[in-house]
Structure formats: structure tokens, C-alpha cells
């Protein structure tokens, strides 16, 4: 049985686009094992005192056999496998260990992204998902916290630690780290590298289709997200918003609609304001980030064998 290709994320690095355009493309030769199937979910969700790798392997076997019968390359693709930024990646190592225990011969793809841009995108996603905090509070949640609940942590984006650990577990030849910026600038090269690494080269028609395709997960404007943040206090109770002031489906529905329909960047009257808002968010993040990733990025650049500075990374 073929060992699966495992694309672990990170979140906000074009994972959905890759899944939809490549791994679910019937002409690409992959067999996507749905991230919503129980065994994939359990890789993340099982409590550390309950996870059983033997049992997990048993659950995956028929899914891998199905791919084998179709002569397709099995692939698991889920950004959550690299941890979750909203809780500081508390389980990234645990998940890596589980993947190694279940798929000792797995081949790993990990896509990283320059941290300032990553954090801006992560924060926007947080607001979209119902988070109530402003950017400063999001980046520094609970200054006196007693390590009771894991929350955002800048260290989560020290990519060299995760890549280094996967290299140690699976062997560097079985780990392909790529910068998201390469996907943005040169999709063909990005896709070709994944195809070659997996031993399943991407057919020309798929490459043509994907290089011409539109983005699936367009970014929302900082202005509309910021303006509707206050409405999250009336949204449904969630892990990001465990104690809303009041739960109102009406307000929540209105906020969701506003976010979907309204893009101030498209309106002449608000375009300037939208740009200022975007700029102000980026600036706040850049100031908070400072030079904290210099050292990590230097090591990451070596691990990737890529000139990350040319992609605008700080190092």
C-alpha cells in the first residue's frame, strides 16, 4: 500500500486552493482522504491520554486500500495538522508524533508564510470566525495568564522548529517545505515541486487549470472586519468567544451578511478609509512582530534552501 502524502498546512497558505484544485482533481492522480472522516479528525481531536496509534492505523487501512485499488496516491490535506494559531500551536508536536506513529513512511508537505502577513491573515480569520478581541488583545491575550488556556503565541510561527522536528521524525528527504509566496508568484513551480516530491507529477492540463484559476478564499477587508467586530459580542458561543454578552442569531446573521456583501474597498467613497484601515492593521502587526523572527527565519531559509528575503521575509 502506498504511504500517503500528508499536507499539514499551515493554515492561511492556500490549503483550500490546493485541496480543491489538485488533490480533488480527478485528473491529478490523487485520492483525497476527507479531513472530515473520523480517523483524520481523531489525529487532532483524540485526547493525548486516549490516542491509540494501532487503532488509528486500523481505521486508515481501508481508506488507503481504496486509493491503492484505484491506483491513486492517497493524500491527507488539512491545515489543522500544523496546529492552530488561535491556541498557539499547543499540539503541533503531539500531532507530528501521531502522524509518525500512524504513517511511518508518510511524505510531508508543509507550507510556510512570512509572519507579518500570516498574522494579519490569521487575525482576520479570527474575527470572521467570531473572535471578539482587538488586535492588541489578540496578540497578547491575558497578560497575567497562568498557562491555564493556550492562546495566541508568536512562537508558533517559528517555522524552523516544526520543519526541523518533521525532518527528524520522517527524514529530510521525506519533508517538502515550501514558501507560500512561491505559490503567489509562481504557481506552476509550486505545484510542480509538490508533484515531483510525491512521485506523482502534475499533468499539464491540471497545471494549466490551476495556474489560471481564481483564489478560493479571498481576504476580507480590515475595515469591514474591524467594524463588525463589536457584533461578535452577540454571536453564538464558541471556542473563540466562550462568553458573549448575549447570543443573538439576528445580529450574528447581520454580521455575516455584512462581511460577505460589503467590501468598502470596492466603494469609491470608502476606498480611502479601507486602505487606511488595512494599513493600520498591518502596521500594528509589524510593530508587534519587530525583529523576533530574524533568527528563526535564517534557519528556515536554510532548511528550505530558498532565498526568503527575496520573498519579503525579515531575516
Amino acid at each position: 500500500m502506498a504511504a500517503p502524502l500528508i499536507h499539514i498546512g499551515y493554515h492561511k497558505t492556500g490549503t483550500k486552493w490546493l485541496r480543491g484544485g489538485l488533490f480533488l482533481n480527478k485528473n491529478a492522480g490523487y485520492h483525497w482522504i476527507d479531513k472530515d472522516t473520523p480517523p483524520v479528525r481523531r489525529i487532532v481531536r483524540a485526547h493525548p491520554l486516549e490516542f491509540d496509534p494501532e487503532e488509528s492505523r486500523g481505521e486508515f487501512e481501508p481508506l488507503l486500500a481504496e486509493a491503492d485499488q484505484k491506483s491513486l496516491m492517497p493524500v491527507i490535506c488539512w491545515g489543522r495538522l500544523a496546529g492552530q494559531a488561535f491556541s498557539g500551536g499547543y499540539d503541533t508536536k503531539e500531532i507530528a508524533d501521531r502522524l509518525k506513529a500512524v504513517f511511518p513512511d508518510g511524505r510531508i508537505v508543509v507550507v510556510v508564510r512570512e509572519q507579518r502577513s500570516m498574522i494579519v491573515s490569521t487575525y482576520k480569520q479570527y474575527l470572521k470566525a467570531g473572535g471578539p478581541s482587538g488586535i492588541e488583545a489578540f496578540l497578547q491575550p491575558g497578560s497575567d495568564q497562568g498557562w491555564r488556556i493556550p492562546l495566541f503565541d508568536f512562537d508558533y510561527f517559528q517555522y524552523h522548529l516544526l520543519i526541523g522536528y518533521y525532518n527528524k521524525l520522517f527524514g529530510a528527504d521525506n519533508v517538502l517545505p515550501l514558501p507560500y509566496e512561491e505559490l503567489v508568484r509562481d504557481r506552476r513551480s509550486f505545484l510542480t515541486k509538490i508533484g515531483e516530491f510525491s512521485g506523482n507529477p502534475v499533468p499539464e492540463e491540471v497545471l494549466a487549470e490551476m495556474t489560471g484559476a481564481k483564489r478560493r478564499n479571498p481576504a476580507q477587508s480590515a475595515l469591514v472586519l474591524g467594524a463588525t467586530r463589536v457584533l461578535n459580542r452577540f454571536g453564538p458561543r464558541s471556542e473563540l468567544n466562550p462568553a458573549p454578552l448575549m447570543e443573538s442569531m439576528l445580529v450574528h446573521g447581520a454580521a455575516t451578511k455584512l462581511r460577505k456583501k460589503l467590501d468598502p474597498a470596492n466603494l469609491r467613497a470608502t476606498r480611502g478609509l479601507a486602505q487606511r484601515s488595512e494599513q493600520s492593521l498591518k502596521q500594528a502587526v509589524a510593530e508587534a512582530v519587530g525583529d523576533r523572527y530574524f533568527e528563526s527565519n535564517r534557519i528556515t531559509a536554510e532548511l528550505l534552501g530558498v532565498d526568503l528575503a527575496a520573498y519579503g521575509w525579515l531575516l
Binding site: 485526547h47 491520554l49 491575550p141 495568564q145 488556556i149
Partner: protein, 319 residues
């Protein structure tokens, strides 16, 4: 260099008389023990919890503990690491309890482990009161079910944290069953002297009779708060400072925050004016927790009994 005396490591749980043990037993040199403390925040006991998974360095942590262990040994005292956070945290479902156990085993491979457990309904009532006391805003039902739909993005309360057999089994697998002592908190409440004697026998450091006599068994350093006070003060938590339990206060007000503290500290059960309401509120809280718990722990408690030989049924546990 002589080998160091293996430490006694007391991992919790929270809300099981930990403060009393730290202050009156392990913190009193006359007992023959030395609690290695937890202050300041740079103390290595915090590193066992706080180090990020990729950063943890067992040898470095061990080296930090070394001088403390040696000082205790030179003073003829048994070193004790006592920190309930080592068993995980109930507000985040004990997500790191296994990782911490593995770290404890790496740093103290010859340690003897003490774990104090407590009947789950009473444990959850006490945990919720502590949550509000610490600034939590959620009412009980929401505390017990932190999200309408769980998405595994941020860990919250999880009933599984109190299925003790899982963690006890893991510690036994790491240290050997003979090196793990499990005691029920209810024994501490009913017979604190017997409880302390059991710890001393296990640790191999019995207390002199006169010292045992002098221990303030009746003192409780962390008196329980009334459900009424907790319920009345909870909305004022929206004005306390931001924390991991209170991500977005409405605004921070010292006045309102202090008012909340005064309410929580008020003896509403002791006052004739508020006693009836306080008793009703307490009963309601306990009933709600009991209904939410149902019989979910019966199987786990059975396994805990099999592992420990404790007669938990006699202490009012669901078995």
C-alpha cells in the same frame, strides 16, 4: 558526588487540599519535608508546564532543580515538588496532562508520585466556583459546554479531565505502580491525620509523633465560596482586567472589580438574612452539576478502584 534523594512529586489535582499540604506539611521543616516552592515565575516547576513542546530541555530543567534538591538533602529533608498544574488544568480539559507527566518522568525518573483525586460532582462544583473567582464570565452551563459546536481550536472544559484512571494509568506506566500513591480528597476531609500518615509512609519519611500532633488539621487555607456569592458576583467579572478567562472585558473598573471580590468573600451562608437564598443557590448548583455529570464516570471510577484498591464508593463516589 553522592546520588540525590529522589523527590516526592505531588501533581495535584487542583481543588484537593493542595495549599494545605504545601503550607502545613511540605512547607514545614519540622515534618522532615522541604517543598521546593513555585516562586518566582522563573522557577523550573513552571518550565515543566510552560515550555513550548519544541523547546523543552529536560537536562536543563533537571540542572535547575539540582541545587534545590541538594540543599534539601544537606538539610536532611525530603525534597517535594508540589504543583497541581502538573496534572493539567480543568479550564482547558487537561490538554497537556500527558505531556507534563512525560516531562516529570524525564526530569525526575526516580521520583515517587502523589496524586490526590476527588469525587467528580463535588470537584466540578468547586472548579466552577474557582473559575468565577479567577475572573471567568461564563455561567455554569456554558462553562461545562464552552462552545455550541466544538472545533478543537482552543481547548476548554472537558469532562474527560476528571476520568482519573487515564492519568493514573499513565503515571503508573512511567514510574511503576508501586511508585504512585493515589489518595482521595474525601479521606483528607474525614481523616486528615490518616491521610498525612499514608503520604509519609509512601514517601519513606514518617513524621515524628509530636510534629504530627501539632499539624493544624482543621485549618483550610482556601475556604469554599457560596454559590450565591459566585452567581451574584459573576456579571461583575466583565469589568475585571483581561485574562485568559476574560478575553474581552466590557471595560476595566477597579471599583466594580473590588465590589465583586467583596461579594464573593461575604459569608452569605452564615448570615441569617441570606442563609436561605444561599442554601437554595448551593443546592441548585449541585443539582445542575449532578444532572450534567449523570453516570458518565461510573466506568472510569471502576477502573480507578481496580488500579488503586481504594473503596471510593464508601466516600460517596459514583461506582
Amino acid at each position: 558526588m553522592a546520588a540525590l534523594t529522589p523527590a516526592l512529586v505531588h501533581v495535584g489535582y487542583h481543588k484537593t487540599g493542595t495549599n494545605w499540604l504545601q503550607e502545613e506539611l511540605f512547607g514545614n521543616p519540622r515534618t522532615g519535608y522541604r517543598w521546593l516552592g513555585k516562586q518566582p515565575l522563573t522557577h523550573p516547576v513552571h518550565t515543566l508546564v510552560r515550555a513550548r513542546p519544541f523547546d523543552f530541555d529536560a537536562a536543563a530543567v533537571r540542572a535547575e532543580f539540582e541545587s534545590m534538591l541538594r540543599d534539601a538533602q544537606n538539610a536532611g529533608l525530603l525534597p517535594v515538588v508540589s504543583f497541581p498544574r502538573l496534572s493539567g488544568h480543568p479550564y482547558s480539559g487537561g490538554y497537556d496532562s500527558r505531556m507534563i507527566a512525560d516531562r516529570v518522568a524525564e526530569v525526575f525518573p526516580r521520583a515517587r508520585i502523589l496524586i490526590v483525586i476527588r469525587e467528580q460532582r463535588s470537584m466540578i462544583v468547586s472548579t466552577y466556583k474557582q473559575y468565577v473567582n479567577a475572573g471567568g464570565e461564563a455561567r455554569l452551563e456554558h462553562f461545562l459546554q464552552p462552545a455550541k459546536q466544538r472545533e478543537w481550536r482552543v481547548p476548554g472544559f472537558d469532562y474527560g479531565h476528571f476520568a482519573y484512571d487515564r492519568l493514573l494509568g499513565h503515571y503508573s506506566s512511567l514510574f511503576g505502580g508501586d511508585n504512585v500513591l493515589v489518595l482521595p480528597y474525601e479521606q483528607f476531609v474525614r481523616d486528615a491525620r490518616g491521610f498525612v500518615e499514608a503520604i509519609a509512609r509512601f514517601a519513606g519519611r514518617e513524621l515524628p509523633a509530636e510534629v504530627l500532633e501539632e499539624l493544624p488539621f482543621g485549618r483550610r487555607s482556601n475556604a469554599g465560596q457560596s454559590a450565591l456569592a459566585v452567581g451574584v458576583a459573576r456579571p461583575l467579572n466583565r469589568f475585571r482586567h483581561r485574562s485568559d478567562l476574560n478575553l474581552e472585558p466590557l471595560f476595566e473598573s477597579r471599583l466594580l472589580s473590588r465590589t465583586g471580590t467583596r461579594i464573593r468573600r461575604a459569608d452569605l451562608l452564615g448570615s441569617p438574612l441570606t442563609r436561605r437564598a444561599a442554601v437554595r443557590s448551593e443546592t441548585r448548583l449541585r443539582e445542575t452539576v449532578a444532572a450534567a455529570v449523570g453516570n458518565r464516570y461510573v466506568a472510569s471510577n471502576g477502573d480507578t478502584i481496580r488500579m488503586t484498591g481504594l473503596d471510593l464508593g464508601a466516600f460517596g463516589w459514583q461506582v
